[in-house]
């Protein structure tokens, strides 16, 4: 705003300066013009001088206005000021509209004046005047010739008399009636005799002329009495002049004709001045018209351009973001309406801007709040002792916390998506696929890394809360390696205790048998042989029991290599059930085998052993009476064999360790049966799981790869 005021002040000052200069120049022109008029002009040129002053003033004013507009236009054009181009175009158009017809009119006027004035002097009046003049001249010529001849004659006569009698002789001749005037002069120009007196005035020039070769011939003296004089030299010192009176009536006519001729000649001579004055007047008019058109053009351009310039400035301001800019212009015409619409539009824009700013502030606040919450959640996630992996709708990795990276042995700086390149991810992915089907469950997985084996529990939580649901889910990973190790140690402790107990059990009868035999031997008892027999029998039996137990352990430790051959798993299962169906009539086997099961690769002997073990466990658990449901079906890339009994089921507390070796709930069990089963299946690339969905007894799921 201050800048605008400063600019306005500068413009005003410049304008004031230019106006003063213009006023001074104008005053100077008028002063110079006045002096020119006073000292230079005559009656003929005075109007021309006045016109010249006026034209100079107009021309100067016009040049000043034009030059000012041209410079202004050029500067504005160069500065690319708003509206400069249209202003220049409009002004140029106005100037040309005023200038062109005016110049055409002026040119036409000049041609017409030139032609008209010249044509005036081509009229017969010139010829008539000349004819009259010639008549006068002819009359005069007669007198000239007469005076010349008479002067010559008298001079010849005078020469015949002595020089001292020249005056007397001339006096004598002067009385002659055919001479109107006679003079005798000497070479100094002195009049020696004159009749009548003062009929002719003699000056140096006339004297020279009289005494020259040509002499004075037909010299006319106009006065009270008008004479035509001619001279004739008597000798080099004296000359005689003879004059004849110009007849009064002829003189009057001659004067009249001469005066008219004079007027005509003067007019002809002044025709140029007349033409100049006419052209000058037209020029003054043209300049006045051009000046008026330029001035009106300037005003109109300003009037048209002002709102346009204001609109352009306004647009510029608005484009710069100044929506508080208002165009201060009011008019009832279309431009005024445009300005009003513009102001209304800018006001609307300002309102919208403020609303947007308000919304932006709110969004910013919400964003900050969300950011805080996000940071809080991030810190929370990072602080958690469990790994969190967020999965997208398609199961793709979106993010994971530090702990998850740590669990999966991924570099903290590595992108979470890199986890899919890890070998351990295959296990996790399979677990995820399982959990998708049973999202409420957890899965325990064993991940083998370069240096260690980790046991993890993973849980998949869908991103759903109340009615709000997001695509994707959260994978919670918990490292239970330490816990598993503790459980394994506890299991091993139990195995050791059981093993000790199992070994200790047969050792007691063996020790008792040995002690009895030694006592019978020391006492030379009669029933020594019987005691030896019974004792050794007992020892043998217990040793065999111990050997069987050792064999069982050995078998677990050294399972035979599997030999995979393609076969029908359904047939195998069916054949495995047959001995039990015959041996346990109270046990009902129901077998469901899906149609078109593909043949898979397996070791028949080992897999048969798996089923036998499982069937025996179920039968024992059902106490030889109940139902065993076996169903075989295809699922994804596996053949699944589901075995469900109607027994008491598997307690939850042992579910995680029941496939560990040497774990058994049976009093005489070695705890290796299910461990061997799990190992056989692992070697086939399959696995065994407890069917947690089944609650009416024990449920086992066996997975064998297709």
């Amino acid at each position: 705003m201050e800048r605008e005021e400063y600019k306005n002040a500068i413009t005003k000052r410049k304008k004031g300066f230019y106006n003063i200069v213009f006023a001074l120049v104008t005053i100077t022109i008028f002063i110079l013009g006045y002096f020119l008029y006073k000292n230079w002009a005559d009656s003929l040129t005075a109007p021309l001088v006045i016109l010249a002053i006026f034209n100079s003033f107009l021309l100067l004013t016009l040049m000043y206005v034009l030059l000012r507009q041209v410079i202004k236009g050029y500067l504005e054009w160069r500065r690319a000021k708003e509206g400069a181009k249209i202003r220049t175009r409009l002004l140029t158009a106005f100037i040309f509209l005023g200038l062109l017809p005016s110049l055409l009119l002026l040119t036409g006027a000049i041609i017409m004046i030139e032609s008209a004035v010249e044509s005036w002097f081509r009229l017969p009046v010139h010829t008539i005047n000349e004819a009259g003049q010639k008549l006068v001249d002819s009359s005069l010529n007669i007198l000239r010739e007469l005076s010349y001849e008479r002067a010559e004659g008298i001079a010849q006569q005078v020469k015949s008399v002595p020089e001292n009698l020249y005056t007397s002789f001339i006096f004598h001749i002067s009385n002659s009636r055919d001479i109107d005037a006679i003079c005798l002069i000497n070479s100094k120009g002195e009049i020696l005799f004159s009749k009548p007196e003062d009929s002719i005035a003699i000056d140096r020039f006339k004297t020279e002329k009289i005494f020259s070769e040509t002499g004075l011939k037909g010299y006319i003296i106009l006065g009270k009495n008008s004479y035509v004089f001619s001279s004739a030299k008597i000798n080099n010192e004296k000359a005689v002049l003879v004059g004849y009176l110009f007849p009064e009536d002829l003189l009057e006519e001659a004067r009249f004709i001469s005066e008219n001729q004079k007027l005509y000649l003067q007019a002809k001579s002044e025709r140029k001045v007349f033409k100049i004055s006419m052209i000058s007047s037209f020029l003054a008019l043209t300049l006045a018209v051009v000046f008026a058109s330029v001035w009106i053009g300037t005003r109109l351009t300003k009037e048209i351009n002002k709102p346009l310039q204001l609109l352009l400035e306004g647009t510029e301001e608005v484009s710069k973001g100044n929506l508080e800019h208002k165009i201060d212009y009011s008019a009832k015409d279309e431009i005024g309406q445009v300005v009003t619409s513009f102001n209304a539009m800018v006001e609307d824009l300002l309102k919208s801007k403020r609303e947007i700013e308000k919304s932006t502030e709110e969004i910013k606040a919400a964003k900050e709040s969300a950011e805080k919450r996000r940071n809080y959640i991030e810190v929370l996630m990072e602080s958690l002792n469990v790994g969190i992996v967020s999965l997208g709708a398609e199961g793709e990795i979106v993010s994971m916390n530090k702990k998850a990276k740590e669990f999966l042995e991924l570099s903290p700086k590595a992108p979470p998506q890199k986890v899919v390149t890890l070998p351990s991810w295959i296990t996790i992915r399979d677990a995820i696929n399982d959990l998708k089907k049973r999202p409420e469950e957890k899965r325990e997985i064993v991940l083998t890394f370069r240096d260690e084996v980790k046991v993890m529990v993973i849980e998949m939580v869908p991103l759903t809360r109340e009615e709000v649901s997001y695509p994707g889910s959260i994978l919670i990973i918990e490292d239970i390696t330490d816990l598993s190790r503790t459980q394994r140690i506890a299991a091993w402790q139990e195995v050791a205790q059981r093993l000790a107990h199992e070994i200790k059990n047969p050792l007691t009868p063996i020790r008792l048998s040995a002690q009895r035999i030694r006592k019978k031997l020391r006492d030379n008892a009669t029933d020594l042989n019987e005691a030896i027999y019974e004792g050794t029998t007992t020892i043998e039996r217990e040793v065999e029991s111990m050997m069987a137990m050792v064999d069982e352990f050995s078998r677990f430790a050294r399972l035979p290599e599997i030999h995979l051959k393609p076969g029908n798993i359904g047939e195998l299962v069916l054949s495995a059930t047959l001995p039990y169906q015959n041996a346990y009539p109270k046990v009902l086997f129901s077998l469901t085998i899906s149609e078109n099961l593909p043949q898979i690769l397996f070791d028949r002997e080992q897999i048969e052993r798996v089923f036998k073990n499982l069937f025996e466990n179920s039968i024992e658990a059902m106490k030889m009476a109940g139902e065993i449901k076996v169903s075989i079906f295809e699922k994804e890339k596996n053949i699944v064999i589901s075995i469900k009994d109607t027994g008491p089921g598997i307690p939850k507390e042992i579910r995680t360790k029941m496939f560990l070796p040497y774990f058994s709930t049976k009093r005489k069990g070695t705890g290796l049966g299910l461990a061997i089963v799990a190992r056989i299946l692992e070697e086939h690339g399959g696995k065994i799981e407890i069917d947690n969905e089944y609650n009416e007894g024990a449920g086992i799921l066996i997975y064998l790869p297709r």
Binding site: W40, F205, R255, K268, I276
Partner: protein
């Protein structure tokens, strides 16, 4: 800038191609009785036919000659020491066919003549003989710093039909050596 240069050159060439106007020629002088007398001749004074026509129209026509004796100054404007104006006015009488010539020096009539032909008039008006410019007593003797300059103002004209101007010859100079 180049265009402007060429325009100026063409303008100057075209101007120089025009016939020269009237000019003062044959300025001569002599000293006598501590006075300086100047003579000169106006060449092409009647080149403009309008002048002859104007004379024949019986209007009085005046040729004005300004004669000055000046002293040259270095790095300053020359100093005018003597000045005189000769006016020769001719008026034709179409009745008598005589040209009345009046000669003025510094607005004083010094001579009148009556001539009968235009040739005599042109000679008379173009010739200025032995005009007494003034006393030379104040001039430093034997110096070459003085000069005589003459210009003829012939008639009134209008430049571009607009600006009143005198048609003149411009100053013509001749160095003099004081006795």
């Amino acid at each position: 800038m180049k265009k402007l240069f060429f325009v100026v050159i063409i303008f100057l060439l075209s101007v120089s191609a025009f016939p020269k106007g009237p000019e003062i020629e044959d300025i001569s002088y002599f000293f006598e009785k501590q006075h300086i007398f100047v003579s000169f001749f106006l060449k092409e004074g009647f080149l403009n036919k309008d002048i002859v026509e104007a004379i024949d129209s019986t209007k009085p026509i005046t040729f004005r000659y300004e004669i000055e004796l000046a002293k040259r100054k270095t790095l300053w404007i020359d100093k005018t020491i003597l000045r005189t104006t000769i006016k020769k006015t001719v008026q034709y009488d179409n009745l008598t066919h005589q040209y009345e010539i009046t000669i003025f020096q510094d607005e004083k009539v010094i001579e009148k003549k009556s001539l009968t032909s235009i040739d005599e008039v042109t000679t008379e008006l173009s010739m200025v003989k032995e005009v007494n410019l003034g006393s030379t007593t104040d001039l430093s003797p034997g110096e070459n710093v003085y000069y005589v300059r003459v210009q003829a103002i012939l008639f009134k004209g209008f430049f571009l039909l607009l600006f009143p101007n005198d048609v003149d010859t411009g100053w013509k100079e001749k160095n003099i050596k004081t006795p």
